[in-house]
């Protein structure tokens, strides 16, 4: 059981390193953004695994939060790349 979790953790870490390389290298901003989104998902997995290691349920909130945040972050970034701004001005006034 323990070894299984360890192997999982290392695999996720390696894939995180891989996506980080994508974050660093780019070459375009959407590449980085997708990589960052991926890192968010991996974070969720890491925290879930760590909760098993620590034998605690307190980090379930964190997992949910990362899921929301990662979504909001990716959406706002995407909107930023698309329009150059995150919040639209009310143009009908």
């Amino acid at each position: 059981m323990n070894i299984f979790i360890w192997v999982c953790l290392i695999i996720i870490f390696l894939s995180m390193l891989g996506t980080l390389i994508r974050v660093f290298k780019g070459p375009s901003t959407p590449d980085r953004l997708i990589a960052l989104d991926g890192i968010g998902v991996m974070l969720i997995s890491i925290i879930a695994l760590l909760s098993i290691v620590f034998d605690t349920i307190f980090f379930i909130d964190v997992i949910l939060l990362i899921a929301i945040m990662s979504f909001i972050g990716t959406v706002s970034f995407s909107k930023f790349i698309e329009k150059g701004a995150i919040i639209d001005r009310d143009t009908h006034r």
Partner: protein, 809 residues
């Protein structure tokens, strides 16, 4: 007699002019018909009359004290201590004050001048001066001392629309306040030495104070105060510039009273410091130097008041040197030196009488002819006979001729200086011969400028038609005060011993309290005629002969003054000092205040890291205790690698967007650290905050400058690298050593034990935040609220750029 009640009255009298000063503006505003000066005249007259009643008391060596506690816990009190010395000064202040006010009534025009402020300043000065001479408490003495500086500043700058008045006022302020501050330092040292502010108690302890390590510092600081106020070398330079004041002010402050405050200080502190050789050398030496310097440069002046100013400087030097010589009497029984103190005080009175009169005459000449330039004046004798008489009496007294009072004190001065030669302590026997020579040469110049002053103005060819005004004799009211002073000059010559018995001997007694039991013990009888054997007589004869020759040949040797290069004068020095310090300060602040936050951060971080690292190693506080560290976990190490990589990317990123993304990476890995170290609440908050702040960065993205826009040079980059490395090292060192040296155990066990029982909660972090230490939370909420409102304010309240620049104009 109920002494207390009566005594309580007279310390309040110091403040009589002050209180009256409050009423003067009303009198000036509402009573237009009468010259305001008439009301003011009452004050010094009443005071003079009142203080005369102390003469019988002090004549027997007695004194009177009256005190009002001001700050009792610090031992600071308004004290009026009247003994011979303070009474003498008090009488001078009130007596000459009355005459000056009388003179000013005719001098200051009722319609053209702002009399309200003039008399307010003058009365303020009178209170200050009375306070200086009567205070027994050094702190209140200093208070009044500074008040004289301030009121003198106001009076010199009375015609504030003139550049020269403002310059003179500022210069005198700078120099006298410098001296005043030095003096305060001396007083504080004295109070540390003697543990009291009272001068009398300090005098009583005088023998113990001499060996104290602060003694010499206190001595020099107090002398600095006295020398700046009394216009001694090299601080005399403010006095000639103070002549821009109205003439009554020059007569009162800058000849008879304020410039004698320094003399008073030296006389008052002689019982404490007089036994020291430094004191004797400094006071006598500087006094003689000033005497010579002032008399030599007086002949150079072309302005009547400037001549008198230099003459005042020189006469003050004379009095000062006599006080120094008088202090020698602590070391020798030779009667001559007790004589010196007597001569000093005698000359002080004489100087006040004749110099006051001369200033008033100079003012009259200015008033009636429109000029004070001695080169334009001449031949006024037949036009202004009364003024001429007064000026002649004053000048001859100043020159030291009989039958005027200056003769007596000048003769005593010369004899004291001759006696200095025989004094054997402190190397006076080797250098002593210089003293009589300098004194004699200075007296010759004094004689010369006295003649120069009176004869060039009143004799010679009349250039009457070229004067700005048609000259005529002054109104009689203006002449009353100088005539009274001139008659005093003569009266004192004939009755010096009455004056001596009433006023001078008690004053000498106050200056040298340990030497005499009562004023009657002072065995001095002033004689106008000592017989042909007297040294003073022959010296005076020589002075008259050489001085007359010098006067007759003035045009021939006056080019001598041109030998002194203009750049080397003391005034130039003062100007250069002022200019230089302003320039230097500007350059200094321009050098380090670049206006760049970058530079300031550099200073702060460099200072912080250097001091902290230095303290760590000086105090040997850098300790690493490996045992206290927890074991390194694998996921902890992996997460640290991710964190370091992200940080490195933030620093080396080429684009702003990449840097922001990497910063988000840093924030998320910190959140992961919170997970690893088992802090779920922190992890939650960190995640939300990180997301929001990244979003905010993006929101402001358009307005942020491009990275590396400053185009930093290699040098600044290297400096930044060094500073950031040192700050990093500093923080690491502090963290390591503070972790390794925990002095007391943590209190968290208490929280763990009581979180459920006391607070009824399960989440320990939340309970701490809202229960155990809810106050912090409250104010953090406040911080957030303020930040929110401030953001709203910054966005909404846009003051356009144009408006702000208008305001700045």
């Amino acid at each position: 007699m109920d002494g207390r009640r009566i005594l309580l009255e007279f310390v309040l009298l110091i403040f009589l002019p002050f209180v009256f000063a409050i009423l003067v503006p009303f009198a000036y505003k509402y009573i237009k018909g009468i010259h305001t000066g008439w009301f003011v005249l009452l004050v010094p007259l009443v005071l003079f009359g009142y203080y005369l009643s102390f003469i019988p008391l002090t004549m027997d060596g007695g004194h009177a004290i009256s005190e009002i506690k001001w700050i009792p816990t610090l031992g600071i009190a308004f004290t009026s201590y009247i003994d011979g010395l303070s009474l003498l000064f008090t009488l001078l202040i009130t007596g000459i004050g009355s005459l000056v006010v009388l003179y000013s009534i005719f001098y200051m025009d009722k319609k053209k001048e702002n009399l309200g402020s003039f008399y307010v300043y003058l009365l303020l000065f009178m209170t200050a001066m009375l306070g200086v001479v009567q205070s027994d408490n050094t702190m209140t003495l200093y208070l009044f001392w500074e008040l004289t500086s301030i009121s003198s500043f106001l009076l010199i700058g009375y015609w504030y629309t003139r550049d020269k008045s403002r310059f003179g006022a500022l210069k005198s302020m700078m120099i006298t306040v410098f001296g005043g501050l030095m003096m305060l330092g001396g007083f504080i040292l004295l109070s540390i030495m003697g543990e009291t502010f009272s001068i009398r108690e300090l005098i009583a302890q005088a023998p113990d104070l001499v060996s104290h390590p602060y003694f010499t510092s206190a001595l020099i600081l107090i002398l600095l105060g006295a020398f700046t106020k009394s216009a001694q070398f090299p601080f005399y330079i403010w006095l000639p510039d103070a002549m821009e004041a109205p003439t009554p002010v020059s007569a009162y402050l800058h000849s008879a009273t304020m410039v004698k405050a320094g003399i008073y200080l030296v006389a008052r502190f002689t019982p404490i410091f007089g036994t020291s050789s430094t004191w004797i050398w400094l006071v006598t030496g500087i006094g003689l130097l000033t005497l010579f310097w002032g008399s030599f440069f007086a002949v150079k002046q072309t302005d009547l008041k400037a001549i008198l100013a230099f003459s005042t400087v020189s006469q003050l030097g004379l009095i000062m040197s006599l006080l120094g010589a008088g202090a020698i009497s602590y070391h020798t029984t030779e009667a001559m030196f007790a004589f010196a103190t007597y001569a000093a005080i005698f000359h002080l009175i004489n100087h006040a009488t004749f110099k006051g009169g001369l200033f008033m005459i100079a003012g009259i000449i200015d008033h009636e002819t429109g000029t004070r330039d001695i080169r334009k004046l001449g031949g006024l004798m037949s036009i202004m006979p009364l003024s001429f008489t007064v000026a002649l009496i004053g000048s001859l007294s100043m020159a030291g001729l009989p039958p005027f009072n200056g003769f007596l004190s000048k003769e005593m001065f010369l004899e004291s200086m001759v006696a200095l030669r025989h004094f054997e302590l402190f190397q006076f026997d080797t250098w002593g011969i210089l003293f009589p020579i300098v004194a004699w040469v200075a007296s010759v110049f004094t004689f010369t400028y006295s003649l120069y002053f009176v004869l060039k103005t009143f004799l010679g060819q009349g250039k009457v038609d070229q004067l700005p005004k048609r000259p005529h004799e002054a109104p009689i009211g203006m002449l009353v005060a100088p005539m009274i002073l001139a008659s005093l000059v003569i009266i004192i010559f004939f009755i010096p011993n009455v004056l001596g018995k009433w006023v001078i001997k008690p004053a000498v007694m106050a200056v040298q309290p340990t030497l005499y039991g009562s004023p009657a013990d002072i065995d001095i009888h002033v004689l106008a005629w000592h017989g042909f054997g007297s040294v003073g007589l022959w010296l005076t004869v020589a002075i008259v002969i050489v001085g007359s020759l010098l006067y007759l040949t003035i045009p021939k040797w006056q080019p001598l003054y041109k030998l002194q290069p203009a750049k080397l004068s003391l005034n130039e020095g003062y100007d250069a000092l002022m200019r230089g310090s302003e320039k230097g300060m500007n350059r200094l602040s321009r050098a380090y205040m670049t206006g760049l936050i970058r530079t300031y951060l550099l200073y702060m971080f460099a200072f912080l890291s250097v001091t902290v690292i230095a303290v760590l190693f000086i105090k040997d506080a850098f300790v690493v205790d490996m045992n206290s560290f927890a074991a390194i976990t694998l996921y902890g190490a992996l997460n640290a690698v991710i964190l370091l990589l992200s940080i490195g990317f933030v620093v080396f990123a080429k684009s702003r967007l990449a840097a922001i993304i990497a910063l988000g990476g840093v924030g998320y890995s910190v959140a992961l650290f919170f997970v690893i170290f088992k802090a779920p609440d922190l992890a939650l908050t960190q995640l939300v905050i990180e997301t929001v702040s990244v979003a905010l960065f993006l929101l402001a993205f358009k307005h942020l400058p491009a990275l590396n826009e400053h185009g930093e040079t290699k040098k600044t980059k290297v400096v930044n690298l060094i500073i950031s490395l040192s700050v990093g090292v500093m923080v690491t060192l502090v963290a390591l050593s503070s972790h390794s040296q925990k002095l007391i155990p943590s209190i968290s066990q208490y929280y763990k034990d009581t979180v459920a029982t006391e607070a009824g909660g399960g989440n320990i972090v939340n309970v701490i935040l809202v229960d155990y230490r809810g106050f912090d939370t409250l104010f953090e909420i406040a911080v957030l609220a303020i930040a929110g409102i401030a953001v709203l304010g910054m966005i909404r309240l846009r003051v356009s750029r144009k408006e702000t620049t208008d305001e700045n104009k």
